[in-house]
């Protein structure tokens, strides 16, 4: 059983409590300096975040007051015109939908890979596969974009035709044979891009499953799959959720790969296979270079919305994890 070798490293020695003196008032100077340093760093971080948010909000306010359209409902982006006329409805839709497609495709695969690496693969194989997955995360996103544009897009006609044939009646998968530079393609590409982070975090979580849980299940006569179902997955659930949220964070902000592959347009199509739509980051990348000052402010305003969406997603993830605390590694 190769699993047993995983936890044979001794647990770290308990950290000795600092200055366990009877008089609580006497604090050593080292502690005081360290406290000041760490508190200072914490405050500095908050200040930097506040400064970024303040900058975004200030620049956004300059152009939002002039905006002729409704910032939330207009299907248009003419921010360099005077008066400007732009809205983020399409961008919200495109960003959220492409990220959800990516998550739906990537998370099951990532969990599968992680389970394979931790519970099924022979050690000789799990090492190299782990490295390859780590390397996937190191590939620059523009390379994914070029690969997607040159290799993935021309080869998707078959898949899109199949989806149209069998699922076309849903309207979501209707396809009228345009080149597949659509939100669904972006979703597939993003899924590949977020695979490493979701896999790695899940793998680490599955490795933390207490040996006792698994051994108890095995002792009760469970098969390996039953062990995974009864002890590994429940224990790792909050870890998987946070892994998925980390992946979602990457997918939401992905820029160059989306900008290279997507054929953007300021419309919302019912079909995910039709070109059109856009994402926040893609729109900023496509418009920033040629924008004048006012256009840039509008793009910054859209960036502020992405900032808020990311905050909300992270908040939601934390709320989910907090509710499932009983399973988390800290209490095991």
């Amino acid at each position: 059983m190769d699993i047993s070798t995983k936890t044979d490293t001794p647990p770290p020695p308990p950290v000795p409590l600092a200055a366990p003196t009877k008089k609580s008032s006497s604090v050593r100077p080292g502690d005081r300096i360290f406290l000041a340093l760490s508190r200072g760093s914490g405050i500095l971080l908050l200040l930097i975040m506040a400064a970024i948010a303040g900058f975004l909000a200030y620049r956004a306010s300059l152009v939002l007051s002039k905006n002729e359209g409704n910032f939330f409902t207009t299907f248009e982006w003419n921010a360099t015109a005077s008066p400007p006329d732009f809205g983020i409805a399409v961008l919200v839709f495109g960003t959220v939908v492409s990220s959800i497609i990516a998550l739906a495709l990537a998370v099951p695969v990532a969990i599968g890979i992680a389970l394979f690496l931790t519970h099924y693969a022979p050690r000789k194989l799990s090492g190299p596969i782990g490295y390859v997955i780590d390397l996937l995360a190191a590939v620059p996103s523009i390379v994914y974009g070029l690969w997607g544009f040159i290799v993935l897009v021309p080869n998707l006609n078959g898949l899109f035709g199949w989806l149209d044939k069998y699922l076309g009646w849903t309207a979501i998968f209707a396809w009228d044979e345009k080149a597949p530079n659509a939100l669904f393609t972006v979703g597939i590409l993003l899924a590949i891009m977020i695979l490493p982070i979701v896999t790695n975090v899940s793998r680490e979580v599955f490795r933390q499953v207490p040996q006792a849980h698994e051994e108890a299940a095995l002792a009760l006569g469970a098969t390996r799959w039953e062990v995974i179902r009864m002890s590994v997955l429940p224990f790792g659930r909050s870890g998987i959720i946070s892994a998925a949220m980390l992946g979602l964070g990457r997918a939401l902000g992905e820029t160059m790969a989306v900008a290279t592959v997507l054929s953007p347009e300021f419309v919302i199509n019912a079909s995910l296979l039709d070109p059109g739509g856009g994402t926040f980051a893609q729109n900023i990348a496509a418009k920033f270079n040629e924008a004048n000052e006012q256009g840039r402010d509008a793009l910054i305003a859209s960036g502020l919305v992405l900032f808020v969406i990311t905050l909300l997603v992270n908040g939601a993830a934390r709320a989910i994890i907090a509710r499932r605390k009983e399973y988390s590694g800290a209490n095991a």
Binding site: T5, T9, T80, Y131, F149, P154, A179, P275, N292
Partner: protein, 373 residues
């Protein structure tokens, strides 16, 4: 414990292989900077007068003229020992940089707008920025229709195709312009730029001017029409046309290469014109000058009647201060601009797939550069 160390060692090995591989690859791509020639000799050969040029020159702007600037920069740096740093970040960004005073000149696909000229008095003390036309180029319309090697279109059909009105290749309007050509019933997939671009601006200017009834949109850097598909950058468009059957798009001629076929344009002249460098220069020579004083912004004639004038062209400008340039960069800026406007400098353009500025405009531009202060 032992096992972990082994893993780490393996990781190191893989890392070492990767790094050494990368090093070997970069070694192959090294520049041909080995050939040092006498600077003064090459300066004379290229007709470059260095004057007091020295140090570093910062510029930014249009990516359309990047290849031209690269070629000029190589000669100029060799002759005058001046490092020119041109960042092809886009015309809009170039003008913004220039108006903030962070660059010596800007490259732009569109002439300065009135409010930009007003703003420029901040950087150009008691004066203003001027447009100097320096590089021209045809915007070719590339298509991918198997079996059709010669395609003739006019402005109205082009506008309808890009406006999603004509949907298949065997449409009557296309067939009428191409008698005897067997057109397939393939769907037309019109591609446009997904990023904002001077090429889009100039292409739609042509559609608006030559076929106003068919093209209801105002020319803009961002694509205005609905329908159609998009790809990023001219190279993205060229790639999209190569890999998509039934596709049609527009890009600077140099991106067509040998693989993409280009449309011949039916103009008011008798014969349809091909998208070539010479034909673009012919069209630019019919341009009207609209700039005042020393500003040489041009308005192209989109309905030429002269034989062989290809009207979908792009003129890119260098933008500098008429007076009040920064003292430290003025000699270098003047030396560089004089070189690129010179006969040798303009001749270099043709090799790189651009069209030179016609002689009568060019000579006047050279006079203006001499007077920069």
């Amino acid at each position: 414990m032992k096992l972990q160390r082994k893993n780490r060692l393996r990781a190191l090995c893989i890392g070492a292989v990767a790094v050494s591989g990368a090093l070997a690859l970069t070694a192959c791509g090294s520049d041909d900077s080995g050939t040092e020639t006498d600077p003064s000799a090459s300066a004379q050969a290229e007709g470059i007068e260095c004057g007091d040029a020295e140090g570093q020159l910062l510029a930014s702007g249009s990516s359309a003229q990047k290849n031209a600037i690269d070629a000029w920069r190589k000669n100029f740096a060799a002759a005058c020992k001046v490092q020119l740093n041109y960042n092809p970040k886009g015309s809009g960004a170039g003008i913004t940089d220039f108006l903030q005073g962070s660059t010596a000149f800007a490259g732009s696909d569109s002439a300065l707008k009135d409010d930009e000229i007003k703003q420029s008095s901040k950087v150009c003390k008691d004066s203003q920025a001027i447009d100097l036309p320096m590089v021209g180029g045809p915007i070719a319309v590339g298509y991918n229709v198997p079996g059709v090697d010669n395609l003739i279109l006019d402005a109205a059909t082009l506008a309808d195709i890009f406006n999603d009105k004509i949907k298949t290749w065997d449409d009557k309007a296309i067939a009428k312009l191409n008698p005897g050509v067997k057109l397939p019933s393939t769907k037309i997939q019109a591609f446009h730029r997904s990023d904002e671009s001077g090429t889009t601006d100039n292409f739609t200017k042509y559609l608006k001017a030559a076929a106003p009834a068919n093209w209801p949109y105002e020319p803009e850097k961002a694509w205005q029409a609905k329908g159609g598909q998009a790809a990023s950058g001219s190279s993205g468009l060229a790639q999209a046309v190569k890999q998509t059957e039934g596709a049609i798009t527009y890009f600077e001629l140099s991106y067509a290469g040998t693989e993409v076929k280009t449309v011949d344009l039916k103009t008011d002249a008798k014969e349809p014109v091909k998208a070539t460098i010479d034909n673009a220069t012919k069209a630019i020579s019919e341009a009207k000058r609209v700039g005042k004083g020393n500003d040489y912004s041009l308005e192209l004639n989109y309905k030429p009647t002269a034989e062989g004038a290809y009207p979908i062209t792009l003129v890119t400008y260098e933008i500098a201060c008429e007076k009040g340039n920064k003292a430290e960069t003025l000699p270098t800026t003047k030396a560089f601009l004089s070189y690129i406007a010179s006969e040798k400098g303009q001749a270099l353009l043709k090799e790189k797939g651009y069209a030179p500025i016609p002689a009568e405009i060019n000579t006047k531009v050279r006079e203006v550069i001499k007077g920069l202060s």
